[in-house]
Amino acid sequence: MIGIRKTAPGHIAAWTLLLLGGIVMVMPFVFMLAASFKYNNEIYELSLLPHEPTLDNYRRLFERSGFLRWFGNSLLIGTLTTASVLFFDSLVGYTLAKFRFRGRYLVFVAILSTLMIPTEMLVLPWYSMARTFGWLDTYWGVAFPGLMTGFGTFLMKQFFEGVPDDLLDAGRLDGLNEFQVWWQVAMPLVAPALSALAIFTFLGNWTAFLWPLIVITDRNLYTLPVGLASFSGEFQTEWEMVMTGASVATIPTILVFLLLQRYIIRGIAMAGLKA
């Protein structure tokens, strides 16, 4: 705004550099997608447009590997975990924000302190727990450590604190019980925060690697990242197949981003600042 005339040439230079940098940032995707539509004999030409675009790699990928199954596994685990996180994190966040009772502060500090514990420290006991209860190689085994999160609880608490008590009391006067006040009155008011939390949680689960790698050894139950990592033996030199697999894992998240860009960016900025 200030002195726009004075800085105009600098502006154009900066803009051009930013655009070039941005194009460099997305080049890996462009190469990946281009390769996924190429036949093997064309893969050594680093052209971005295939001469003869083909969907053959996608067909072969789904036929020859468990990719479709892995995709489904990731989708299922991501959806269930996200549903659980949304429900419990907002329930706990709401309780800590809106109820006054003895032990409230202790519970809050305890949950907050779980953010300090690195996952790497917990995976060994989780593994032995999963082994004891027969959860190895099950969906439940992948999902159970992530059913609630300290981060989400903290985030939701911040947002519920902004919900006016009068609205909740109005709900109580209408004869709603405390659960209904939360579910029917408070929850709709924090919808933007819920959608941000849903996106983070789903993406976090979609890309999660360490724990699924540990808990799953059955190829049929692999999540997408674990399946992709196992490609090293199978498709080592067939780079067009590897790029097709990488595309299938990546395209959904990019589509979600393009559709929900505003919420995601705002959500991250919001979460970053609140934290």
Partner: protein, 297 residues
Amino acid sequence: MIGRSQDLTIAQKRAIWAWAFLSMPVVFYVTIRFYPAAQAFGASFTNWNIVGRMEFIGLANYSRLLQDPAFWKVIGNTFAYLGLGVPISMLASFVIAYFLDRVRFGHGLLRALYFIPHLTTAVAMAWVWRWFYQPAPVGAFNVWLVGLGFPQVAFLRSTTHALPAVLAPAIWAGIGFQIVIFLAGLKAIPRTYYEAATIDGAGAWRVLFEITLPLLRPTIVFLVVTSSIAYLRIFDYVYAMTNGQGGPLDSTKPLVLKIFETAFAHFEMGYAATQTVVLFAILLVISRMQIRLLRSR
């Protein structure tokens, strides 16, 4: 029954609801977070190996760790990831955010270009970068180097180049997040500060060092801490780009990969637990230190 529930005050009824809401979460946090954390800590003093009997062996794991050259190797690598990753990513993301903040035309599109890598699956992108790093005629980087008349670089096959080659995609994927946080921080600085500085005749550099950077301190603290933690815990890219080996010759192996190997390839759970305790301690010390350093200046 009815009589008794009417005797309860509103506050008491509320407290009962609160604990009812918290009942399952409390069980969850105790059994899936606190108990395992305590268990890992306790296991670091044992010879736990999943199958056999677990015996208390005092500090034996810790003294073994101190004498284990492989441990010092991974500590060195882990701090190399941290020491290169944090400054490079912070500087790059700040410069980009600083200019992006001034751009109105196409702001959303530009931001999206920089942010998209952050949303991807590390394992998928690791494959793309591995492909780029292949020798010519397969890998794009070497094809370009040869085209420009340079010799080929061994990248992932070299003990000296492999670590930066693994770090590059991690930085590439991470800066989108840092840019978005920087942009939010920059937007929070009141315009009047800049206007006042301009009226005082302050140049762009003085404004940057005397207004922008000091006011961004909370943002910088947050990002330095979160990115340090991320680089100290690096795993996905290393595993996926080196077939789970951390090679060549352990030159890319970070602490978390050694923990993974010790626990799930050698099944020395007690020894692995000791390493997780060390990781925990490092994370704690680094984040405390940085918060203190950056706050009290």
